[in-house]
Symmetry: C2
Subunit: 188 residues, 2 copies
């Protein structure tokens, strides 16, 4: 017997491999070896599962950012944001993949909600970069572009990082952090 | 009357907006206001168009990298690679989107060909970073991770850069280049 969570987890794996539009409810039922009627007794629709997956990934990213102590230095806060972001990607690779890749297929009102959560998450990075510029430890011509640069470098890792590869997520996070801190470090 | 190029261009736009699996030949015929038979007299299949789009994007990225003079300094070569990459994304946004987002839906033998072309492209970045480390102008704990960092920051721009936005591609390339050069610059 499957719980709803099991089903959404398997759906997340299929969506991440084949894409949302490339996965049918029939595919999902086949992988679970259940009949369609059984599947629909647990979940309402394919879109409901997409929403659960994307929203949970957003929860994880926002929780990681919220855990960063606001009274630390901008460098330390940025270091924790970088580690937290990569940690979520490594821990939740299928969900993060669906979050980055398939969120656009949500219906407009749900897409809008995710957009707001993404913006709120981006603001954590933007604030720490702006605080660093104000305090003289960071420099950037435009804090918005610097924020997008950092998040772009972080986001795309879901495409190539593999938890079973030779590089651990801690090693990756340390190297990424060194590169990012240097890209923003103020000239002395 | 449409040429094959027109049809592939429209397909690129649709694939970039709705995804490859989210676009049917019927959708394409509808947008073009032609009958299915007319469409199939120009193109063999949806997959053939995906291949043409992804392969043309690969052509453009590789041509931009090949145009970089090998006798320039590592810093200058990297600057030109950064500008060239962002220029292709801005110029060919729907094609670049399909390249980054949908290439995985190619059949295995074609996917393998694209993977080889992506690897060849990545090598241009890797070589310039390694040359810079050897010549003492760049530093990185691991040239492979540094290469993936730079390409990740560049690739993800297709998600948020809009050619009609307030930031021009030249402004973006200059700021990106400054951030990337600083992330790699050797300590004096």
């Amino acid at each position: 017997m499957y719980t709803k969570t099991d089903i959404v987890n398997i759906a997340g794996k299929l969506f991440s491999e084949r894409g949302y539009h490339g996965t049918s409810m029939r595919d999902l039922a086949k992988v679970l070896a259940v009949r369609g009627a059984t599947l629909y007794s647990h979940v309402e629709s394919k879109e409901e599962m997409l929403w659960e997956i994307v929203n949970r990934a957003a929860d994880e990213f926002l929780a990681a950012a919220a855990a960063v102590p606001q009274d630390s230095s901008p460098e330390e806060r940025l270091r924790l944001l970088v580690h937290g972001h990569l940690d979520v990607i490594a821990r939740e690779l299928p969900y993060a993949t669906v979050f980055f890749h398939e969120w656009q297929f949500l219906e407009p009102s749900l897409r809008e909600q995710i957009k707001e959560r993404r913006d709120a998450y981006e603001q954590h990075f933007r604030r720490v970069i702006e605080d660093g510029i104000e305090q003289g430890c960071f420099q950037a011509e435009d804090a918005r572009v610097a924020t997008l640069f950092v998040l772009s470098a972080l986001n795309w890792t879901y495409q190539w990082f593999r938890p079973d590869g030779s590089l651990t997520i801690e090693q990756l996070a340390e190297q990424y952090n060194a590169l990012i801190q240097r890209s923003l470090k103020a000239d002395i």
